[in-house]
Amino acid sequence: MSVDLSVKVSAIRLRNPVLVASGTFGYGEEYADHIDVRKLGGIVTKSISLHPRPGNPPPRIAETPCGMLNAIGLANVGVHRFIEEKLPFLRSLDVPIIVNIACSTVSEYAEVAAILSECDGLAGIEINISCPNVEREGMAFGSDPSTAHTVVAAVRQATHLPVIAKLTPNVTDIVTIAQSVVDAGADAISLINTLVGMSIDINSRRPKLANITGGLSGPAIRPVALALVWKIVRLGTVPVIGVGGITTTEDALEFFIAGATAIQIGTGNFVDPRTPLRIIEELKTFLEEEGLESISELIGSLTIEP
């Protein structure tokens, strides 16, 4: 008998717990020539907003030690073109599709969620609450428990789909934020989004990103992601999806052992597009070798007493 990799993230059933992270896998089609995307546990789309967004001027990316900075600026086709142009392909894959949404006002979040609710074949909505709130001096929605609550509650009201709140690590107290999004009706929490970072070209004495600062991702941030995932898992409220710096099966195992129900691969796709599929295969081998029948036996198996 083969091992069971399936998990349930609230109402979302996944054949395996390895998803690809928002913004790193486009709309699924971009990698379709390169790997068998049908084998993924799920696809989280690039953040979608109400209207199309061109994104930031280049340069948009810079490499840093064991990581990268990006300031894409949430470039996306907007929810209407997404549904017309991108969703049919995604739906054809028979893989759970989670649409990530990112907006600049609360009502836009609700509107996009409502529009998506009309579509067939979506597994859930992931709310990127790390975006700047234009109504509050550009402060990220996710950096304050009450604005985070407002956004999640508005989306929750607008849709019957499972709602995942994606948290930003750039906060003093992630526990309060997590509690407030759960209170607002989030079915699951994913974390972490990128850390704020910066890099300077010493020859031109200019920032390496046109946007000056950007989001740090990749293996460099994995310890930060793991610490926050573990903190939220311990609340024992909703399932947690771990994201941040996962490029190998060992990395993925750290998150499962810490208690993540599923994981997302972001920058790891750029490093090697085979990363998620390789992790899926190697997870099976690991479980077999450990004599475990299902991934759920591994999830949360961290021993912390000496």
Binding site: Y31, G218, D272
Partner: protein
Amino acid sequence: MPIHTCHILSHERLSGDVYRLKFVSEPICRGAQPGQFVHIRADVQSDPLLPRPFSIHDIDREVMGVEILFQVVGSGTRILSSKRKGESIEVLGPLGRGFGVDHERRISVLVAGGIGLAPFPFLIKRLRESGHSVFVLAGWKTVEEIVGLERIESSGASVDVATEDGRRGSCGTVTKLLNTRLRAGDFGSESEIGLYACGPGAMLATVAHMARQYNVPCQVSLEERMACGVGACYGCAVLAADRENACPEYKLVCKDGPVFDMNEVCLK
């Protein structure tokens, strides 16, 4: 094409910091178009983390070999330069949109600035197969930097060199040389000419400017920092043409390019 592990057939240092590396890849050999690129990780190390993009320099069907010509500029290229024959590298590709062969214009003029020469041997092969006459104008700052020219010279293209130190070929930039040649009508009738350019951004902008002046079409190969290489991350954006004052619109170098018609993008 999935990313695959490729065996290194040969690796030589051509000059101070320029190397030519040949690896085996049947799928790339069969599927590649001139102007496309490959995304290479020298190793499975995690620093540097991301693959590095290189134009396909040439292909050798007999041994299913793919060549790149590259210059060491930072840690990724330094590590790549240390790889030896017999070792392997991780390669994703062929990627992007290559040069289109303009069958209406059978006089092809290729303009290269420095390491911008990299994609031309493969392109020349294809152009010659299509019966084009090919002129290559290649420029370098100093004579010491000149590299990779034999391959071009033996390809049946006629070659003209410009150096800014004036110690070989014409003195000055390659764009100055291009201007002289176009003005003199050295290549033939303007209505027959198609321009193909690869090199630094400023050079490409100047070449495009001349192309407009002489009313010849021009394809340019651009570079931008890349992460995914496949159009998934939106990292490698360049401003689309005529968008500077409107709401900006971007093209992706890895997917919409790296080769663009000069009128598609904003060059500067």
